[in-house]
């Protein structure tokens, strides 16, 4: 087939890039080779626009065993225990077919984790939808939630935490990010680097069909009116086969048969084989006649670019084939030796006794284009408002409006569709700042949380990037865990637009500064560009997934009020920051001004001391103060218990809206016994931490002197209704 300009463009390659390919090969690629290049050189696999920025992130601390560059990040949690985790996006497929898109997103991230030898122990997700009035939103929400649940429930991994947000910026481009966390033995971690020559390359798992051909390029292309035509490429997930594949791989990993292993994710057989060879500085020869196919007459092009799910590539030690095959037979899975490692440093593909492709591995990987794209800085918006409208709205109706809004409504409708308890180690389910998963059979546990704040990042990407890491860190602190490391999924618009590239570069700077200061490195992640339609880009939405450690698991600290009569304190200084707050957005429809600034020094100091208070059993319950401000924090602590509060009018800020709705960072709300106040006060004062007594826990009613009084039952209803009525 003649390679025309049209074919090149259809493959998402720019003319310069095609020129570079010809230079690297010293000839024209054939059609199959072009397909392979397009898969390897697209944004999703090559990170061509993001790499120079990602390189600046901190990736090490004393706990990190493996940072970015592998299927997932690995951290040490003491003894022979390691935690392996990563987050990944499945945005475009989920917009086209929400159930299957979300389901296969979960499947993909699970494979990234068990590929490395970990048994997955928790799933998380961050999902962003358009305006609830948009006519697509409801179907997308339903489909995505049941897809996430459907996959995880069937495989038998608890889905324990996540976040769900609605904003019109996602009307034509939703976000579905899934995170998986697994547990492995430190001395049994598997990597993707190939080693040795003439070793068997084995294909295991499902058969290859025509699913998602060009999926990776699709994930890196903006949507337009013609997206509908791309529909048939959506893959269908098969969680049952995933479960078989997981068990079979974990069984094979018990001894020393595996040299290296890699899941077939985006760009399937192409990217997995190239990656293994590249890391091992080797070549690979594959016989495509051997690839197990689901459909008849599949071409090499289709086999190499198919994104059929639930498949893996393994390089085996000599002589282990029979033993390995027995295991896969037991689990009714395909197991076929399809090739071998070579010293040619080329990827050679054979089909019907002919060499159909012969490409240097380096051309596909290390020689892929890298771009230092132009980017524009975004100035901190000025805060030049005096809201006169405060008088027009009563405090209580503003409060009700916020907590009954889709963004602040209780997420039970969602979390009830996820099996949260399977594996019987979920000590804290979703609903708290972080969820807690015990390491099976041990005293230690990990805490996990995912967070994002696109609103802050849009307003000022640097502050937003910093803030989101802090918030995630704070969420782990709030359950008594020592934060260790993060994974991140960077969802942005079109990187060829300098404004968008600026958002990306500055969010990264913000993330970097917070991660460095908090000793909270990035160990894995994923970049998703081209989120937008017809030149309308989504708000910059970095999502942070954090993992923390609880060394000695006692009764975990609660996130809901525990005792009538105990004192409620707010920790950290409140400056009344309202721009970009939930109050301004949900009630006043006002979206100018800067986001709150995260002061890293205070953040760390407050957090470390809170952790101390928790460890010394001074705290009955705790919740961080974030989006929605103090009043929402108090409401959530009430709703989750059957106890209310009696709040005093504040002394420090005279405006009630500023006091209760401000979103200043680094703050917590804690409940303590009255008798412990002096001790707590002493610790806080010694460490220069500002605190205020807010009120006391009381029965039945949620109450603020003269402004607001509502029974807990009614409050629960207001907060719980939206999803069920949608």
């Amino acid at each position: 087939m003649k390679i025309t300009k049209e074919i090149i463009n259809k493959h998402g390659l720019k003319n310069d890039e095609f020129k570079k390919i010809k230079e690297l090969l010293n000839r024209e690629p054939n059609f199959l080779e072009l397909g392979i290049f397009s898969a390897m050189w697209n944004e999703h696999c090559s990170y061509k626009s993001s790499k120079i920025h990602l390189k600046t992130l901190p990736v090490k601390n004393k706990n990190v065993i493996q940072g970015p560059g592998e299927n997932a990040g690995v951290i040490d949690i003491g003894g022979n225990d390691a935690i392996i985790f990563k987050i990944e996006s499945h945005n475009h497929p989920s917009f086209i077919e929400p159930y299957q898109g979300a389901a296969t997103g979960v499947g993909g991230i699970l494979r990234d984790v068990f590929t490395m030898g970990a048994r997955p122990i928790a799933l998380l997700n961050s999902i962003h939808f358009g305006d609830v009035k948009n006519k697509k939103t409801k179907t997308l929400l339903n489909g995505v939630v049941s897809g996430i649940g459907g996959y995880g429930n069937c495989v038998g991994i608890p889905t324990v935490a996540g976040e769900t947000k609605f904003h019109k910026t996602y009307n034509e481009n939703i976000l579905v990010n899934a995170m998986a966390v697994g547990h492995a033995k430190k001395d049994k971690i598997f990597y993707s680097k190939a080693k040795g020559i003439n070793k068997s390359v084995v294909y295991v798992g499902s058969k290859t069909g025509r699913d998602g051909i060009h999926g990776a390029s699709m994930a890196s292309a903006e949507f337009d009116e013609n997206s509908e035509e791309k529909k048939p490429t959506v893959q269908v997930g098969d969680p049952f086969t995933e479960k078989l594949l997981m068990e079979a791989c974990l069984e094979l990993m018990k001894d020393n048969s595996i040299i290296s292993i890699q899941d077939m994710g985006a760009a399937g057989l192409t990217s997995s084989s190239v990656e293994m060879a590249f890391k091992g500085d080797l070549g690979l020869e594959l016989n495509l006649d051997k690839v197990p196919c689901r459909e008849e007459n599949m071409t090499p092009y289709e086999m190499m670019l198919s994104e059929s799910q639930e498949r893996m590539l393994i390089i085996l030690e000599d002589g282990k084939e029979d033993k390995a095959k027995k295991i896969f037979d037991k689990w009714d899975l395909d197991f076929v030796v399809i090739g071998k490692t070579t010293d040619t440093k080329n990827l050679i593909l054979k089909f019907h006794n002919e060499v159909v492709a012969n490409l240097p591995i380096a051309a596909l990987s290390s020689n892929a284009p890298q771009y230092e794209r132009k980017w524009k800085e975004k100035k901190l918006p000025i805060k030049n408002i005096k809201i006169k409208d405060f008088k027009k709205i009563k405090f209580d109706s503003a409060f009700f409006k916020v907590i009954s809004s889709p963004n602040f409504s209780n997420k039970k409708w969602i979390t009830e569709q996820y099996d949260q308890m399977v594996m019987c180690d979920t000590v804290q389910k979703s609903g708290a700042d972080s969820s807690i998963i015990r390491i099976h059979g041990k005293k230690k546990a990990i805490a996990v949380a995912v967070d994002s704040s696109a609103i802050y990042c849009k307003s000022h990407p640097f502050s937003g990037g910093k803030q989101i890491v802090c918030e995630n860190w704070r969420n782990l602190i709030s359950v008594g865990a020592m934060p260790i490391a993060i994974t991140n999924c960077l969802n942005f618009g079109n990187p060829e637009d300098p404004k968008i590239m600026g958002e990306f570069a500055e969010c990264i700077k913000g993330i970097k500064s917070a991660c460095e200061f908090l000793n909270y490195p990035v160990v894995s992640g994923n970049v998703s560009f081209y989120n937008g339609t017809n030149n309308k880009n989504i708000y910059p939405t970095p999502v942070i997934g954090g993992v923390g450690l609880i060394n000695e698991l006692k009764d975990p600290v609660k996130n809901n009020f525990q005792k009538e009569g105990s004192l409620i304190l707010s920790i950290g200084k409140n400056f009344g920051h309202l721009t970009q707050s939930a109050l301004f957005l949900e009630v006043f429809n006002y979206d100018d001004g800067p986001p709150p600034e995260a002061n890293l020094l205070n953040e760390r100091n407050n957090g470390e001391n809170i952790l101390k208070l928790i460890e010394n059993n001074f705290i009955n319950s705790i919740h961080d103060i974030s989006s929605g401000g103090l009043i929402v924090t108090l409401a959530e602590m009430s709703i989750n218990s059957s106890l209310g509060v009696k709040i005093k009018k504040p002394k420090s800020l005279s405006n009630l809206f500023e006091f209760f709705f401000s979103e200043d960072q680094g703050r917590y709300c804690i409940e303590i016994d009255k008798e412990k106040y002096d001790n707590v006060k002493k610790i806080l004062q010694e460490n220069n931490i500002f605190h205020e007594i807010i009120g006391v826990v009381q029965r039945d009613n949620f109450e603020l002197e003269k402004e607001l009084k509502i029974s807990i039952n009614d409050l629960y209803k207001i907060n719980n209704e939206w999803y069920y009525n949608y």
């Binding site: 086209i96 077919e97 159930y99 299957q100 499902s206 069909g209 025509r210 699913d211 529909k231 048939p232 959506v234 893959q235 269908v236 997930g237 098969d238 049952f240 086969t241 689901r294 459909e295 059929s308 799910q309 009714d332």
Partner: protein, 79 residues
């Protein structure tokens, strides 16, 4: 007026359900089995005397709700 709607997966779309059912039947000794694919079936009754109009309505129901046209095909028959 009563119609049947059969919904089947498009040709190249993976059918995990059919796959497992097929495997089970084979394990149970059904040697002659070549393949099996699973779909959905609906019986719809509507209050409409004009067959063309009725069919149009059913067609609309399929597109709007009953069928995921991204991965499924459907056919409508009067019964």
């Amino acid at each position: 007026m009563k119609f049947s709607v059969t919904v089947t997966l498009k040709k190249d779309v993976l059918d995990p359900q059919g796959k497992v059912v097929e495997q089970t039947l084979k394990n149970m000794g059904t040697n002659s089995l070549i393949g099996i694919r699973q779909g959905k079936y609906f019986e719809v009754e509507i209050n409409e005397k004009d067959e063309t109009k009725a069919e149009k309505q059913i067609n609309e129901m399929c597109n709007k709700l009953l069928v995921n046209t991204i991965i499924e095909n459907f056919s409508i028959k009067r019964i």
